[in-house]
């Protein structure tokens, strides 16, 4: 938490009036402290539409450097949608439209100067279901460096693959069978392989979309340990269904409800003394 400087004074309402979009008055104000100094990612007045349907309503949120932020909320609350706006994965969805301001450090994520290839190289992503390519373990990890031309030689590539697998905590388990298909690994191993694949191109941010929902408790514990280790080098945004997981791995927690960001606070605070009634209702299990 030391790396974080919370902007404790700025309340949500003040920030909103600062941006002053007219329809913002109808939006329920976010409680807690959504904004931080010198953020890695800055979202302002963010809305997402699928065709005529609005999925995200005017969200303001900062994500700090080397922070692990968890996004929780009931199904369909927009937490995954928000996550996918950060690396523009919504571009591939027909009829999806994003408005508002998204910054990755100083660079406008949706700006004309931003190249989506470069953006996604800087913002990696791990998906709900492990999705290793139908290739060997080695080729799975080497895929990113290869397409981006990051390895000048075979030796360099070997090094990148080994480092990535080590950082993903998978090296010991697979170093003798790098040429075997990635799909032959167990679920938890596959997910760590996907994490290795994501960090092989040294991203600045890693987005994780319910990374443990398809895994058993032991594999989940391994991934959670890994997240804690990775937090030293990366900014991590994790969407999770499990409140316990959010409590275990994250520094801050954001609670989404029906496309609105209800509360953002230090994780401990969210789970002990939530400020908003909805948050309290959710974490005490009154709905989910």
């Amino acid at each position: 938490m030391s790396a974080l400087t919370m902007n404790l004074t700025a309340t949500a309402s003040e920030e909103n009036s600062f941006d002053s979009a007219p329809e913002q008055t109808v939006v329920e104000d976010t409680v807690g402290f959504p904004l931080v100094d010198d953020p890695k990612i800055r979202a302002r007045n963010a809305s997402v539409f699928y065709g005529d349907k609005q999925a995200i309503f005017n969200i303001d949120l900062d994500i700090g450097k080397h922070e692990v932020i968890a996004m929780i909320g009931p199904s369909g609350c927009g937490k995954s949608t928000f996550l996918r706006t950060i690396n523009r994965m919504n571009d591939t969805v027909d009829g999806c439209r994003v408005s508002g301001e998204f910054l990755l450090e100083e660079d406008n994520i949706y700006g004309s100067k931003m190249d989506v290839v470069e953006l996604r190289a800087r913002v990696g992503m791990v998906f709900q279901k492990p999705n290793p390519f139908p290739k060997s373990i080695f080729d799975n990890v080497a895929y990113g460096p290869k397409i981006h031309g990051l390895a000048g030689s075979r030796v360099e590539l070997d090094e990148i693959v080994e480092n990535s697998l080590k950082r993903a905590g998978l090296w010991a388990e697979v170093k003798d069978r790098l040429q075997q298909p990635g799909t032959g690994l167990s679920g938890g191993q596959q997910q760590r392989l996907c994490i290795a694949r994501a960090i092989s191109i040294s991203p600045e941010v890693i987005l994780m979309d319910e990374p443990c929902s398809a895994l058993d408790p032991i594999a989940t514990a391994r991934i959670e340990e890994l997240i804690a280790e990775l937090a030293e080098n990366y900014t991590i945004v994790i969407v999770t269904h499990s409140m316990q997981q959010a409590a275990r791995v994250s520094h801050r927690t954001a609670y989404f409800h029906l496309g609105k960001l209800v509360e953002v606070n230090e994780t401990e605070k969210v789970f002990t003394t939530p400020e908003h009634k909805l948050t309290e209702a959710y974490i005490t299990g009154r709905f989910g």
Binding site: N87, M89, T92, D94, V116, V117, E118, L119, R120, A121, G124, M125, F127, K129, N131, P132, F133, P134, K135, Y143, G144, I147, H148, C194, R197, A198, I201
Partner: protein
């Protein structure tokens, strides 16, 4: 009675049987105080009696009809004096034809051997007899069966189960027809092929380099004894199929990729049916197109470039065959590409890969088994395609891989050898069945492998 009339008569009898069975069950119901006291509904009782009446008699009819001709000709043959008794199948066919024509009056009886006239008369008599016998027998079986079914009725009879059992048996029979068809194909080609290989050694057929199937009709005739080396045909088939695949695979695959990955729904909804038109065009139309439009075009273009191109070039046939196969490959490839899970695409795109990098390095490798299966099926189609090559490729069995030359294919030779009058004992005609056997085995192998590969692939992502 004529066969068609007899069948109608049997149907009428069955209908009557249904009526009587239905009535009798109604009678039971009245005695017992309502239909609900019967085991089954009255219609089932009716159907059961109708089946007893119709099924055995119709079966008997078909069995008899199938063997009638064979038995009659056996009986005829036994009455024919030794000096004109046929010694070969050809002579036998000739003799039978003659007797047939005498009997029907198509051949005048002047100057014909009296033994043959007797045979013709006997044929008429035997036909007549067998027809009468059959009519009587079938009617008897129908009547007897119907009566048996009617007489054995009772209120406790499990009529529905019995009828349903027969119904299911009929369904099983229909489903099993596929096996009988395969068996029939195998028998028809193997039987004649074996006769062919008795005349021509199998090694000559498989490895011989010269194909000219014209054999002398009579042994004392001058002229070629025919050579049956099928290698030029195999090579020609492969050449044309290869040309077709070089057109169809890239075009089909790329259009499938574009449609599945890039095209918007509007483009898709227009282009897909438009391309599928190509799949619905009959092959004879492609053959005509190849022979009258594409072949002259290629010949003229070639001539203007100083190349010597025949007007029946392998290129023309291959090119048009390729066009025919485009929609086949494209729709199969479209299916397998769409079967690749979206998470694969997401995984690659999230790493910053461009769309084409994702397609080339993730989607195509993932879909490869399915694509390979589709291509194998397409190859099997190209090999077995007949009309295009019959109309646009030649008959000259040249041993060449020059696409501007004329080559001939297995299917062209089968058609050429079997259209028109056939003598079923000459190696020339029989060779067509040997070629058919080769064609069947090769395509069967390709289909089998392809279908297994595709099935495996589908299971992988289900």
């Amino acid at each position: 009675m004529q066969t068609s009339n007899l069948i109608i008569a049997l149907l009428v009898m069955s209908a009557l049987a249904y009526f009587f069975g239905y009535q009798r069950s109604r009678g039971f119901a009245r005695q017992l105080g309502g239909v609900s006291n019967l085991h089954s509904l009255p219609t089932y009782y009716g159907m059961r009696v109708a089946l007893w009446c119709g099924l055995p008699s119709v079966l008997l009819l078909f069995v008899c009809l199938a063997f009638e001709e064979t038995i009659i000709s056996k009986m005829l043959l036994s009455g024919i004096p030794d000096e004109i008794r046929p010694t070969s199948i050809a002579e036998y066919n000739l003799l039978m034809n003659k007797i047939e024509n005498l009997a029907s009056g198509a051949l005048s009886s002047e100057g014909v051997k009296p033994a043959l006239l007797d045979a013709a008369a006997a044929l008429g008599y035997l036909r007549d007899m067998s027809q009468r016998l059959l009519t009587g027998l079938a009617m008897l079986v129908a009547g007897g069966g119907g009566f048996w079914g009617w007489w054995r009725m009772s209120a406790q009879l499990r009529a529905r189960q019995q009828v349903e059992k027969i119904f299911k048996g009929f369904l099983l029979l229909c489903a099993s027809l596929a096996i009988f068809t395969t068996l029939g194909i195998l028998l028809s080609v193997i039987f004649e092929s074996v006769r062919f290989f008795q005349q021509v050694p199998i090694s000559e057929f498989l490895f011989g380099l010269e194909w000219s199937p014209q054999t002398a009709i009579r042994p004392d005739q001058v002229g070629g004894s025919g050579s049956f080396g099928a290698v030029p045909l195999f090579l020609g088939t492969m050449l044309i199929s290869f040309i077709a695949m070089t057109v169809a695979v890239p075009a089909g695959l790329m259009s499938a990729i574009y449609l599945a990955e890039y095209a918007g729904s509007k483009v898709r909804s227009f282009v897909k049916p438009a391309l599928e038109i190509l799949a619905g065009v009959p092959t004879v139309v492609y053959g005509y197109f190849a022979a009258l439009t594409v072949a002259p075009l290629i010949r003229d273009t070639g001539t203007s470039m100083g190349l010597s191109v025949t007007s029946e070039s392998a290129l023309a046939a291959g090119l048009v065959m390729g066009i025919m196969i485009i929609p086949f490959i494209s729709s199969l490839a479209d299916d397998v590409i769409n079967a690749v899970p979206q998470t694969m695409r997401d995984g690659s795109l999230a790493l910053g890969a461009t769309h084409s990098e994702t397609i080339k390095q993730v989607i195509i490798p993932a879909a490869l088994p399915g694509i390979v299966g589709g291509v194998l099926l397409a190859v099997s189609r190209a090999i077995g395609e007949t009309m295009i090559v019959v109309m646009a490729a030649g008959l000259a069995a040249n041993l060449t891989v020059n696409p501007l030359d004329t080559v001939t294919t297995v299917t062209v030779q089968i058609v050429t050898l079997l259209v028109g009058d056939q003598e079923f004992d000459s190696a020339k005609t029989l060779s067509a069945f040997a070629l058919g056997l080769m064609l069947f085995l090769v395509t069967l192998g390709l289909n089998y492998i392809a279908l297994r590969v595709v099935k495996k692939y589908r299971e992988q992502y289900e």
